[in-house]
């Protein structure tokens, strides 16, 4: 029995070490639904100390405090959005790993798309112009009457100067 328990414990530890997030067992909420929401929110919240990690990943002290704080608020019945708003009010939009869509971030969200559309329009214009240039420079339509007469004279093989005048 003891051996089995020990084996189970070792297995549990092995499985646990496979997870990379920083959430400590004592931080977790008993309610799995709330805990899932907490994990979901904290994955989108930036750790202000390490800045490129979420508070879910970070071992920083402040990240732990924020994880505990948001779990407390969840338990108290706050909505996900209310918790995010709470953090944004104190730390600014930067605390969210995904920038919010609003007037000041439109350039960020739509800028690349606008540049892509402009580039495509530019390319279309470029190729159309080149195609037009090709037909006018190589097509027979570009020869005027005088030129055609000269060409005909030359092709007929009759001697003459290059102005089409007979010898």
């Amino acid at each position: 029995m003891i051996v089995r328990l020990a084996a189970l414990l070792i297995l549990f530890v092995l499985i646990r070490t496979g997870e990379s997030h920083a959430v400590q067992p004592d931080e977790r909420l008993a309610d799995p639904m709330l805990e899932a929401r907490a994990r979901d929110i904290s994955k989108g919240v930036r750790c202000l100390v390490c800045q490129n990690q979420s508070i879910d990943d970070s071992n920083a002290d402040l990240a732990k405090d924020l994880r505990i704080l948001l779990r407390e608020r969840l338990t108290a019945g706050d909505s996900d959005q209310k918790i995010r708003d709470f953090l944004v009010a104190r730390y600014g939009d930067f605390v969210l790993l995904k920038p919010p869509m609003k007037a000041s971030t439109y350039a960020l969200w739509f800028g690349p798309l606008v540049i892509l559309v402009l580039a495509i329009i530019g390319l279309i214009v470029f190729f159309r112009r080149r195609a037009a240039l090709d037909t006018t420079s190589s097509g027979a339509a570009s020869l005027n009457t005088e030129e055609r007469a000269r060409l005909a004279t030359l092709l007929d093989g009759k001697a003459g100067d290059d102005k089409g005048n007979p010898a």
Partner: protein, 176 residues
């Protein structure tokens, strides 16, 4: 094709270069406070020392003040400390201490060793009041106006240049 279009790539380059010049030379780790021009958050902290009052929202009204967030475990705090001591000695501006995520005994020993420049000190061992302030790294220094609004935030140790070029002129203006 109109002649003017030939200048477009150059113009585009200039715009991108200008953006990068601004964006890449800014210190991305320093964030503007989300609470700038907002009233100080509501909080109430017990005193750190028996002979000095604690700190609550209502204490930050009526005068221009500095709020300095510090901790005994914070090395840069030690670096800026002589400057704070000098400011208090010169009676430049009242400095309020917010002792963040620290043990009472450690913080008291630290102040006994280096001197205590603060007029009041709130003790925030859990860091909750710090979160209300948007604190993410110590030391942090806030300038509070007479109406109890946050007007400036400096993250990291206070340097003499920041003090003379930014903080002191701001204090002077807020006192008018």
């Amino acid at each position: 094709m109109p002649r003017i279009l030939f200048i477009a790539p150059l113009l585009l380059f200039a715009i991108v270069a200008a953006y990068l010049a601004i964006g890449l030379t800014k210190n991305a780790r320093i964030l503007p406070s989300a609470l700038l021009d907002q009233p100080v958050p509501s909080f109430d902290l017990p005193p750190l020392k028996n002979d000095k009052p604690g700190l609550a929202t209502a204490d930050l009204q009526g005068d221009v003040m500095l709020v300095n967030v510090f901790a005994s475990w914070c090395v840069p705090c030690r670096a800026e400390h002589p400057l704070l001591m000098q400011m208090t000695h010169d009676k430049t501006v009242p400095i309020i201490g917010l002792n963040w995520k620290d043990k009472k005994a450690d913080a008291r020993a630290w102040l006994a060793e280096l001197g205590d420049p603060y007029t009041r000190i709130g003790h925030d061992p859990s860091g909750r009041a710090g979160i209300e302030w948007g604190v993410y790294g110590v030391p942090e220094t806030y300038v509070i106006d007479r109406g109890g609004r946050i007007r400036y935030k400096h993250v990291g140790p206070m340097f003499r240049e920041v003090l003379t070029e930014t903080v002191l002129p701001l204090i002077k203006e807020l006192r008018k």
